[in-house]
């Protein structure tokens, strides 16, 4: 493989990492609080606001059911307003973030709901306020589950980031489409796929290792 092609690959890999990192980070900032909100405000939960919770849940579901490629096109005006352009790595980060927020919200909600209700009761019996219950019981006990959910989100983002290549988003997907497919360079396509496979493997095993380290529920060692 020529040095030029190698440079293309390494640039594209960095772009993909940047898109996944920035979109994942921003989406976590919004998605974790949103997931907590969903887990705390349902009927019979710690701070019940059933009507509001249902409405937010509906929006989250609607966002999740919109196909990603449609979302990318549908929010072009928003993307342009934020980044000044609708093509390239920065522009692709906007729909990636928006798609990841509801996903992360649901996995965080699931992880928080997994925490034994008895722990919440024990904390209440000790005079804990709802804020203390969240900070000292729910989040620490759900941390391994949340981390596994975030790993899942990051892996999905790698896939989605390849999809934004189809609409000029930059990154490995873009490279694969333009060189591997449109210019008939199967070796480029293969290299792109291999890098994506390795990336996903690293994310998954790294996330799982960290989650295991944080999870003290069952003694493994």
């Amino acid at each position: 493989m020529s040095p030029q092609l190698f440079a293309l690959l390494s640039d594209a890999t960095l772009q993909t990492l940047l898109m996944v990192g920035v979109a994942g980070g921003l989406a976590s900032l919004a998605g974790i609080p949103l997931g907590l909100f969903l887990a705390l405000t349902g009927p019979g939960d710690l701070l019940p606001r059933p009507m509001l919770q249902r409405s937010v849940g509906l929006v989250v579901n609607a966002a999740r059911s919109t196909p990603f490629i449609i979302l990318v096109v549908a929010i072009v005006p928003l993307t342009r307003a934020i980044t000044g352009t609708s093509i390239g790595t920065a522009a692709a980060t906007v729909p990636l973030t928006l798609a990841a927020v509801p996903f992360i919200a649901r996995v965080v909600e699931a992880a928080v709901r997994e925490v034994d209700r008895g722990l919440v009761e024990a904390a209440q019996a000790m005079g804990a306020s709802p804020g203390q219950i969240v900070a000292k019981v729910l989040l620490p006990e759900a941390r391994a589950g949340i981390l596994r959910g975030l790993t899942l989100a990051a892996v999905s983002l790698v896939g989605y980031s390849a999809m934004v290549g189809a609409v000029g988003g930059g990154g490995l997907g873009d490279l694969g489409i333009r060189y591997g497919y449109q210019r008939f360079m199967p070796e480029m396509m293969l290299a792109v796929v291999l890098i994506l496979v390795v990336l996903v493997q690293l994310l998954q095993s790294g996330g799982e290792a960290l989650a295991r380290h944080l999870d003290k529920r069952t003694p493994i060692r």
Binding site: D116, G118, L119, E121, A122, A123, Q124, A125, M126, G127, A128, S129, Q132, K136, V137, P140, E141, R143, A144, L214, D215, K216, R217, T218, P219
Partner: protein, 362 residues
């Protein structure tokens, strides 16, 4: 709460009512049906009853984990039911609670779990460490401070639960089936610890259990609950010796072992049979149980006494005897023997009579 003197009411429940909506139907099922209960400071009170009687609901009403539909809950002079949430949280710090399934945080160490109670109560960080060490010492887990709950046995987990509950110096300890997930030997050790805490710290203990063995080992007073009402209430010795309600009796018979063998129960008749014998259940508590009252009474009255079932076991450091016996002799002699046993302090319950031929067949 620390200022409470022994015997003053630590907890007072007035007319507590609570009902739950029945599944599938709109009707509310009463779980607690007008409970009045006063618990003296420094006492160990056991709430017992069949499952579904409302025991746990009642206990959880004390710290308002469950809010009664009506009625008042007092802790000392404080009416908990009238408090706003922040004041209630403050008050809950003087009520410790332990649970059947321990409810420890899996991601905190033993020391971290005990520290949690103090963090929640707003203790300064510098004071938390020494207090945690003190409590782990009290429950005998000083060497396990850095372990995680998943590395502990059930009994050790409950010790952590006790240390956590006691950390902020509560005046009251609520135990919700605290030994029901433990084996008998571990149960005995945990109950010993609770008794020691009650004795040494003057803590008021209110516990819920379905095991009469727990009552026998630690409680001063037993409250029997059935269908959301208190059906019997009194000192443990009194309730064990003279249970008034059939539910209490059923509960006790399993624990005391004074059960009439089934094949003999089938042959019982209510009227005396000439030449037959009389079947009697007797109980005796304290000094009365420490003397050979059956043997003496039988010898004195000239009747034959045969033990059918029962045993002597400790009831709060005192012997407690419960037996089913068969007395054979003339009606007058049997009456004489029973009178002698009553005079010696035994409680007598005549179960019935059996005919001689049938007796031989047993």
């Amino acid at each position: 709460m620390e200022a409470q003197s022994r015997g003053a009411p630590a907890i007072r429940l007035d007319q507590i009512r609570k009902s739950y909506a029945a599944k599938g139907k709109g009707v509310a099922v009463p779980a607690l049906d007008g409970i009045d209960l006063t618990v003296a400071a420094g006492s160990v009170t056991a709430i017992v009853g069949p499952s579904g009687a409302g025991k746990s609901s009642l206990l959880r009403c004390v710290n308002l984990l469950e809010r009664p539909d009506s009625g008042r809950v007092h802790l000392g002079d404080l009416e908990l039911t009238g408090l706003a949430p922040p004041a209630l949280r403050q008050a809950r710090r003087s009520i410790g609670m332990i649970f059947q399934h321990f409810n420890l945080l899996a991601n905190r160490t033993v020391a971290g779990n005990v520290a949690l109670a103090l963090e929640l109560a707003g203790w300064e960080t510098a004071r938390i460490g020494p207090r945690v060490a003190e409590l782990l010492d009290l429950v005998g887990l000083a060497d396990k401070a850095d372990r995680y709950p998943s590395q502990l046995s059930g009994g050790q987990k409950q010790r952590v639960g006790i240390a956590r509950a006691l950390a902020p110096n509560p005046g009251v300890l609520l135990c919700d089936e605290a030994t029901s997930a433990l084996d008998p030997e571990t149960t005995r050790q945990i109950l010993e610890l609770l008794a020691r805490i009650n004795r040494d710290l003057g803590l008021t203990v209110l516990l819920v259990t379905h095991e009469m063995a727990v009552v026998r080992q630690v409680a001063d007073r037993v409250v029997v609950l059935e269908s959301g009402r208190i059906i019997e209430d009194g000192p443990v010795e009194q309730v064990f010796a003279r249970p008034q309600q059939p539910t209490t009796r059923t509960f006790l018979v399993d624990e005391t072992g004074a059960v009439l063998p089934a094949e003999m129960a089938a042959r019982l008749v209510s009227a005396p049979v000439p030449g037959g014998s009389t079947i009697v259940r007797f109980t005796a508590a304290g000094p009365a149980a420490a003397q050979p009252l059956l043997g003496r009474a039988a010898a004195q009255a000239g009747v034959d006494a045969m033990l059918l079932a029962g045993r002597v076991q400790p009831l709060r450091d005192q012997p407690f005897a419960a037996f089913v016996v068969e007395l054979t002799g003339s009606a007058a002699a049997v009456d004489h023997a029973l009178a002698a046993m009553t005079a010696a302090g035994a409680q007598i319950e005549v179960l019935g009579h059996v005919a001689p031929a049938l007796r031989a067949a047993v």
